[in-house]
Every structure is written in C-alpha cells, then in structure tokens.
Amino acid sequence: MNGGPAENRVRLYLWWSRLAAMTAKELIQFGRDTLLLIAIAYLFVFDTYMAGNVGMQLNHAVVVVHDADHSAASRELVYRFRPPYFKLGGEVLDNRAGQRLLDSGQALVALDIPPHFERDILQGKPTDVQVQVDASNTVLGFLASSYAAQIIGQYGFDQTLARLGVTERSMQNVPMIRDEHRVWYNPNQNDAWFMPIAELLTVITIMAIMLPAAAAVREKERGTIEQLLVSPLTPIQILLPKVIAMTLVILLGTAVSLFFVLHGMFDVPMKGSLVLFFAVTALYTFTTAGLGLYIATIARNLAQAAMLAILVLMPMIFLSGAWTPPEAMPAGMREAMVLSPLYHFIEMGYGILLKGAGLDVLWDSLLGLALLGMVIFGFGVWRFKRQFG
C-alpha cells in the first residue's frame, strides 16, 4: 500500500479501535447470557469445591461378615475393620447372602470366617479367611482389598507374636525393617489439595474450548456473521476479540476459584509466583481457544459444538494425568501425553502452586505448552480464515 506514516497511523488506530469495539461487544453479550454465567459460576466455584470434598479415599466402606466360628478370635478380627475406612454392615448367615449384598452394591467387602478359626489358630494350624471385594470401582476395590490384606496380615502377625511369646522388650531383638518415609509437597497427603487443582485446571480447559466455540457458533446460528463479513473487519478481527474476551473471563473465574475456594476453603498453598501462574494460564487459554475456533468452523449450532467439544476434551483430559497418573499409563499412551496441552499445564500448575517451582525448573513444560499452543491456535485461525475469509 502507498500512503505515508500518517495514514499508517490512522490504519493502526482503526485496527485497534475495531478490535476494542468487538471485544467490548463480546463481553456485553457474555454478561447478558444468564445461563452461561450460572454455568461458569458453578464450574469455577461449586465444582472445584466439590472436588475438594470427594477425595479418592476409602470412606466407611461397608463390610459384611459371615462368621461361621463365632469365637473370640473371629470377633477380634472382625472388629479390626473399623471406621473411618470401614464400617461393619452386619452379619450374614451364609456366604451366598454376602455375595448378594456385593452384587446389589450394598456392601463393598464380604469377609468369610470359616468354622474352627480360633481352634486352628490356637493349635498353630494354618487357616484361611476369605475376603471378597467389589472392584467395579477399581480404585476403591484396590484400596479395600489392600487395607483388608493389611488388617488380616497384621492380625496374623500379632497372633504369631503372641504365640511365640514375644514381649515388647524381646521385640527389639527381632530383625525388622522400619519404613521411614517423608512425604513432600503435600505432607498430609491431603486429597483436598490435589483434586481441586486438577479440577480447576480441567475446568479452565473446558471453558477455553467451549466459550470461544460457543461465541463463534452463535454468530453462525443467528446469522450475525454475515453482517460482520460484509463489514471491513478481517477474520482475525472477528476471532481475536472472542479469544481475548473469553481469556479475560476465564482468568477472572480462575482467580475467584483459586483465592476463595482452593486457598480460602482448602488451604491449598500458593508457594510459587502467582504472576507466573496467571501468565501461564493466560497463554494456555489463549492458545487452546484455537480448538474452539476449529470446532466453530465445523459445527452448525451450539449443540453440535458442545458434542464436538466433548469429543476433543475427553482424550485431552484422559492424557493429561488429571485422572490417571502418567506412571499408570501403558507405554504408548505415556508418550502420547506430551501431546495433551493439559498435561503440560497440570505439570506447571502443580509445580507453581504446590512446589513453588519457577521457570528454571518448568521451562520444558512451558516450551511444550507454547509449541503445542502455537500449533493449535495457528490451526484454528487457519480454519477460521479459510471458512470466513
């Protein structure tokens, strides 16, 4: 283009003025959408709050007992299944009744003590107890069976010691390895720290995809995109304001959730730099919005956009380590995790909030996030421009 510096200045001013006008418009529209406001408040406040309350811990799991011995020894074993992990759900008359309670989900564990349990122990004969565990929820089943094994093992150990006549003092001569571990970053192994952070970062991801997708699809659905296309706006000037406005909204939601729910209610420490945390969050939301823009080019209405968003979100969350730790993933999938931007985001989120880590440690995650983000955002913009350019 010809035109002197003055004209260029006018052009630049116009460019910014258009961007500002469109961003203001997105924020006005967002503020008028009551349903969306409620959804945002729900996800950022109540959802993270709930995540802090429902930990992955065994909590009053119901144990039913079939005690065919009814002896002091059997009673002692049974009463070792105690709250808060277990709760006795009563006695059943035969093994099959216990099975039925497992089937119907009324009990998580069925303990079966054979006849002559006490006699066998006193005679020093080996004896078996049967523990049946409902492992349809794998985590709880795993916890229940390992706790049960621990209780029964401890009981057997105690019986052995008693039988050997080992006293407190003579114990010191028995060879024994003492397990002395230190738990770092979350010394009380408090679920209420881990879960809400993971949930908050997941919510940020959902919003970062859904909000721009919804804002763009709404324009298509209501035909307003037509009016924008005949205006002097470029596709970039149409899509950037959506991403900017929605990033602002998400940052605000994140701040509320972080300060009032995570820190305020669950005392999640904020060890690292908050500036860094919010900067990373902004980068993450901005770039992930590319996926939302891409969805908006395919979907014809809001319902389709929501379906597509779920399709994109599931693998992203699954591969992020929010639900399953990377170590628990099979080999191929563990490598694939680096492709989920959420994986890098969670690494950085935990690192900054819990470990107080800085860029010196987290630079590789930031690099991964930035590279993935650029690809995703570039792809979204390219598709958007192709459809509306």
Binding site: R18, M22, E226
Partner: protein, 656 residues
C-alpha cells in the same frame, strides 16, 4: 339422496367461532370467527405473528385451543379423539419449504411414504401418483432426492404428499412464501384444477397481499384478530375511498405536502400514491389537487384502491399511527449531499463459477446515485452470488465492476468500508440494546469517537427509533428490528446501500415505513440502493429492475417499460367474470386461450387484439350458455411480466 345429505352438503366445512389460542400469556388467536363452504378457496392474509399458523394448526387438529368453538367436516372439535376422527379426511401442509418431507428420500419415496401412512391401496396409489406428478411436472424427477429439488419443486412435492390420500379439506400454511413467481403461478394452477375436478375445500394462508385475488373469500388477520372477512370485493367496499396516482415534478416536496394531510401517501418509483379515505374519485382528485397547489403535476388519475390500501386503512383505524418523530433529518452533516453524479455501482460482464457450475453468467448493469435498483429472481437465480461479488465478499471469476468508486477485483476492503448492507435475516445482536448495536457498527466502520454520538443520533432519528434506544433488540417487533438493521447499515453514512430481501415477514405498515425511509434516502440523500425482494408489489418501488434467471439478466428496464414491452409482445390482460366459472375456463382453454388462469372467481388471460378477443369470448360463451358478467382490461402486474419472461426464456432454452 335424502334430505339429510343435502343439509350436510350445505353445512360449512369449517366453522370457527370466537376461537382463542394462548401461549402462556401471549395471545396468538384472539376470538377469530369465520366459516368455509364446500369447494371454496379460503384465504388467511396477514403478517408474521398475526395468528395464521396457530389458527390453521387448530383447524388441522394438531394444536389445542383455550376458548371458542370449532367444527371441522361436521365434527365438533372439542377433544383429541374428535380431532383424530377428522384427521383422515384432511391434509395439512405446515409452513416452510418442504419441512414435512424427508430430504434423503427421492420424490417417489416421499410420496409412497405419505401414501402408506394414509393406507392408500397400491393400485390407487399408482394411479394418483401418476396423475399428481404429471400435474406438478415432477414426473421426470421421480428418483431425485428431495434435497436436490428447487424451492418451488419442494413445495409442489409437499402439495402432492398432502393430496395423496384425496382429502376433502386441505390446509396449506404459507405455501408460496419464498417461492419464485413461476412456481407460485404453477401452484395456484394446480390448486384450482383440483377444485375443478373434485369437491376439495382449501384453507390457504399467505403473507403476500397481491395473492388476495386468488381467494374466493378471505380473512385479514392482524395481532390474533380477524380485522375483516369476506369476498375481496366486499372487503374493498367496506373501506371506501379512492386511490389517486400522480407524477409530480418535485416528488420530494409533493410527498411532504401530501403526508401532512393523508396518512397513506407514498412514493412508488416515479409515481405518488395517495389513498383518500371515504371519497369518491372526483372529490379525492380535488382534495389532492388542493394539497398540491402551485406544484407541477403530470398525469393524475383516480383508481380503485387495492386490498393492501384497505388493510392499512383498517389497521390505522384501529390504532391511529402515532405521528413518530419526523425522520427527515439528513444523514450528512454538511448540508447538501454530493449531487447525483454518475454510477454508484457498475457491473460489467460479471461471472462467477463454482466448480463446474456457473452461478452468475456475464451480468452487466449500472446503478446511479439516488436510484433504487431492484434485483429480482427465484432462489438460485444468482442474485445472492451477484451481491456477494458486489459487496467484496466473493471475488469474481470474470468481468469487472466498481462499487462506490472502488474496483471490486482488488479493493474489496475499500468497498466494504464504503457501503451499507442489510441482510435477509435480521443480523444484528439481539442480546444487545439498540444503542449498543449502533455503537458497535459505527466503531467497526471507523466512525471516529468524537462523532459517534452525533452519527448515532442521526440514524436513530432517521429510522424512528428514538423511543427504543435502551431496549434489548430481542424485545422489539420485526418491523422495528428491520429499521434498526437499516440504521446500523447507515451509521457510517455510506453512499451505496445493499438490501437483501429486507422486508420478509414484516407487516404492511412496517413495510411501508421501511420504504418511506428508503425513498427518502434515494431522493433526498442521493444514496444508491440495490435491493432484492420477493414481493412483486415492492418491485414497483424501484426506479429500475433487473430480472435474473439461471445466472443471467434476462430483462433490465424500468417497471413501466417492462410492462409496456409485455403488452407489446404478449398483449393485454383481460379480466373476465363468468357464471358458471369452471365451464367458462374450460371453454376458453379449448378455444385456444392457453394462458387462461383462475384468479379467485375470475379468469385472467392474455390477448393481443382486445376487441377481437372480446368478440370471440362473447360468441363462445353464448354458444355454451355461459353468462358473461364482466370483462375488463387490467394493466399487467410485474408478476405477469416476470412469469412471461421466465417461461419465454425456458422455452428458448428448451428449443435451443
């Protein structure tokens, strides 16, 4: 046949008494009453939201209602069971092009499906299918999936599917909305033919006032109420008055003077139309002349008013239009706008190809500053593609053009900055207020901050929006929304304005207000306006028209010249009333008047030599014992022009 059967035959097919339908608090139908006799084509005319659809659904037995009485085909509809009993004897086609059809199924599969639903025996189905598909000229497209049919064809297929079980009563909800004039005419032909062959009764709704003449009797609906009911002629007699048409030297000045005395004065192309209520022709002329004292007036004539004039008069009688703020403010700050200086839009041999399909084929036309230019044509004729090229959205494959002084081949950004655009669907933001929308578009179009308030103030005054500036758009009625869309397109003061079917679904008063503004823009502000429309009587407003068909412009002239050319080529329109009318139509067809067609109870035909034709008709009717009630000459409408031109084009293509 006994006495009972005779009585039954005379009983109305549909009787509606004080029917009330509410959606929560919203009153959809507010005490409508009318009855439809056997063999009648009964019309419901009114704008969107008048309650037509609700009323029709209630009659079809698919919608419950809150009050009043309803009898359909002799059955009192007071329960679901009663509605179920008559459903087999009626056919209902809902609104929307082919919405009741299955897009993936072929034409034949669609028909078969509806026949099976209605338990039509196979032999019977084969016979009816053959006949109906032949009649609708869909026979050659039996295997084509419905989604690949044109709008008009979809609508005809919908009609076939509605008729396949030979219902006694057919209910058609806006069957001609969005359908091109040729298909519309086909549609009416099929309907009248069915009436001739079998004793079918039809209830048809429409938003087009000019279709009123097609009905035997009709109800004008507005706001859930029946304003007036009866035969078209009777309705016109109910609203006495005279229409004065004139051409004044200074149209703007003349219109201003007329408006101060007559609420129904408007500029239509070069003419001024004034409805003088309650006055006989001489008195009306005298009143208009007195009002125009001292102005040069050419060709003044007093004619009979049309149904739309009567409709508007009735509406204004009910709710005298509050004299809203004078909207004669200027768009430009500095006094006079630039004079009408040459071409605002020039298209030269514009073409656009999509893959192997040429959507626009060497189209050329010019629009001058201050001119209202109408682009007409069926869906798929290439209008939208042409507009997209002219507005800089779509680059042309071939040809050239300038819009507002910018070359459309490489200055699309400049074009976008200089034009205003009002789209077909309302496309401003409904969850923002009027001012917020205007502000947004002003800033998008680069109006500097210092001038924002003043610009917005001007367009608000121009479009008569000053009472609603702080309201959310979603709360505004259609008519006001369209004016807002116009205001949004004008906020940066463009000199070229594009409007793509801007008035669909707007009521007649709203449409008239809209046109008042457009006329002001063109005449006073010298804005060039390019508009597409489906309403043929709106086309009359244009200074110049181009008719597009299959990507090409097949006629391009002023409305008057187009009509004159038609009269030259094909002859005049004769309007005949005869008794009995159906044998009269048959006689005319047999005598070689191929284009004779029913218009309500009257027959229209084209004739080159009027006196000879009249003589022939008289002898023909005398031979057959048909009574000729009236024979009159009618100026052809633009619809006549377009149907003729398109058929002519199709014939040329077929013979080539």
């Amino acid at each position: 046949m006994g006495q009972a059967a005779l009585v039954d035959n005379d009983a109305p097919v549909v009787r509606v008494q004080a029917l009330v339908k509410r959606y929560r608090k919203q009153m959809a139908v507010d005490g409508a009453s009318f009855s439809i006799g056997r063999g009648e084509i009964y019309g419901l005319i009114g704008p969107d939201g008048a309650g037509k659809s609700s009323l029709m659904k209630a009659i079809a037995g698919v919608l419950s209602f809150e009050g009043g009485m309803l009898h359909v085909l002799g059955e009192k509809i007071d329960s679901e069971a009663a509605a179920e009993r008559v459903k087999g004897r009626l056919g209902f086609m809902p609104q929307g092009l082919g919405l009741n059809l299955y897009p993936e199924l072929s034409v034949e599969e669609n028909v078969d499906f509806f026949a099976q639903l209605r338990d039509v025996p196979p032999e019977e189905l084969a016979r009816r299918k053959h006949k109906l598909l032949a009649m609708t000229r869909l026979g050659n497209f039996r295997d084509r999936p419905m989604k690949h049919l044109s709008g008009g064809m979809k609508q005809k297929l919908g009609l076939v599917c509605t008729l396949i079980h030979e219902p006694e009563l057919i209910i058609l909800d806006e069957p001609t909305t969005g359908v091109d004039p040729v298909s519309r005419r086909d549609f009416w032909m099929i309907l009248t033919q069915l009436l001739r062959e079998r004793d079918v009764t039809a209830l048809v709704s429409t938003a087009y006032m000019d279709e009123a003449a097609r009905f035997h009797r009709l109800s004008l609906m507005f706001d859930g109420r029946v304003l007036i009911e009866g035969e078209p002629d009777v309705i016109l007699r109910e609203v006495p008055g005279t229409l004065v048409e004139l051409v004044a030297e200074s149209q703007v000045e003349a219109l201003l003077r007329l408006e101060t005395r007559f609420p129904q004065a408007e500029a239509v192309g070069p003419k001024l139309r004034v409805f003088v209520p309650g006055a006989v022709p001489q008195v009306a002329r005298a009143q208009v002349e007195a009002q125009l004292e001292g102005l040069m007036v050419n060709e003044m004539q007093a004619v009979a008013p049309e149904l739309e004039d009567a409709f508007i008069a009735l509406l204004q009688r009910r709710q005298p239009a509050g004299q809203d703020d004078a909207q004669k403010s200027r768009l430009w700050l500095d006094g006079d706008p630039p004079k009408g200086d040459g071409d605002a839009i020039a298209a030269r041999e514009l073409s656009r190809d999509f893959d192997h399909f040429r959507a626009v084929d060497r189209v050329s036309f010019e629009v001058r500053q201050g001119e209202i230019f109408g682009l007409l044509g069926a869906n798929g004729a290439g209008k939208t593609t042409a507009i997209k090229m002219l507005t800089g959205i779509l680059p042309p494959t071939g040809g050239a053009g300038t819009v507002a002084g910018a070359d459309m081949r490489h200055a699309s950004q400049a074009i976008k900055e200089r034009i205003g655009y009002v789209s077909q669907a309302f496309s401003l933001y409904q969850d923002m207020t009027v001012t917020e929308n205007l502000r947004l578009f002003a800033r998008i179009y680069g109006v500097p901050n210092s001038r924002l308030a003043e610009r917005i103030g001007r367009v608000v005054a121009l479009a008569g929006l000053s009472g609603v500036t702080t309201q959310l758009v979603s709360k505004l009625p259609m008519g006001i929304r369209q004016r807002l869309a116009l205001a949004g397109a004008l906020v940066h003061g463009p000199r070229v304005l594009f409007l793509d079917e801007p008035t669909s679904g707007v009521d007649p008063i709203g449409r008239r207000r809209f046109w008042e503004i457009l006329v002001h823009l063109a005449r006073v502000e010298q804005v060039a306006i390019l508009i597409t429309t489906h309403y043929m009587n709106e086309a009359e407003h244009c200074d110049h028209l181009a008719l597009m068909h299959a990507g090409r412009v097949i006629a391009d002239d002023t409305p008057a010249a187009l009509k004159a050319a038609l009269q030259q080529e094909a002859g005049q329109v004769l309007d005949i009333a005869a008794e009995p009318v159906l044998p009269a139509l048959e006689a005319l067809e047999q005598a070689g008047f191929a284009d004779a067609a029913m218009f309500g109870k009257r027959i229209h035909l084209l004739a080159r030599d009027i006196t000879a034709a009249e003589a022939r008709i008289r002898t023909l009717f005398a031979e057959r014992g048909i009574q000729l009630l009236d024979i009159a000459l009618r100026t052809p409408t633009l619809e006549d022009v377009f149907v003729y031109r398109i058929l002519q084009q199709e014939q040329q293509e077929a013979s080539a």
